[in-house]
Amino acid sequence: MSQQGGQDPAVAIDMAKQEMEYRVALFNAMVTSCYEKCIDKRYKDGELSVGENSCIDRCSSKYWQVTGIVGQMLGAQGGMQ
């Protein structure tokens, strides 16, 4: 097929899929990691306390920053290949 814009559409679809898979995996990992760090597991009720809510917000922010640092470190090492 013609390749306008310098990118094969099939390749664009594969890349879009992988980008989505990465984002979903990152989100799921953030959810799990911050659950372990922030949530009281006695489950008296299904409500999040003020402390849990604050922790979740800060945890998400810090987790995001860790992804940036690790990404830089891996990039500096010439990627994973």
Binding site: G5, G6, P9, A10, A12, I13, M15, A16, K17, E19, M20, E21, R23, V24, F27, N28, M30, V31, T32, C34, Y35, C38, I39, K41, Y43, K44, D45, G46, E47, L48, E52, N53, I56, D57, S60, S61, W64
Partner: protein, 102 residues
């Protein structure tokens, strides 16, 4: 590259293909998350195996665990959206400053 912007410029049939892939991924992730939630709440709420049926304390615990996890997941989702948008904006500013690539 964002899935929404990846859609732009694609032929009709490939937009349909990408939409189908998105849908399959969402279903897969829902099933994964459901199983993961069952594992977690079972692990946190069920400790005794003298009976084969859950007692009312265990049942209530599972319900609370489930509700709490969903609230947690929703709040992380909000933060994740904010962080992604910030990163996207910064990326665009960097690309603009560099004159952007084709």
């Amino acid at each position: 590259m964002d899935p929404a912007s990846a859609m732009q410029g694609l032929p009709q049939d490939q937009q349909a293909q990408l939409m189908q892939a998105i849908e399959q991924m969402q279903v897969r992730d829902s099933l994964r998350m459901y199983n993961s939630l069952v594992e977690r709440c079972f692990r946190d709420c069920v400790e005794s195996f003298r009976r084969k049926d859950l007692d009312s304390t265990e049942e209530k615990c599972v319900q609370s665990c489930c509700t709490k996890f969903m609230k947690h997941s929703a709040r992380v989702g909000i933060r994740f959206g904010e962080l992604s948008s910030e990163a996207e904006t910064q990326m665009q500013q960097v690309m603009a400053a560099q004159g952007g690539g084709k």
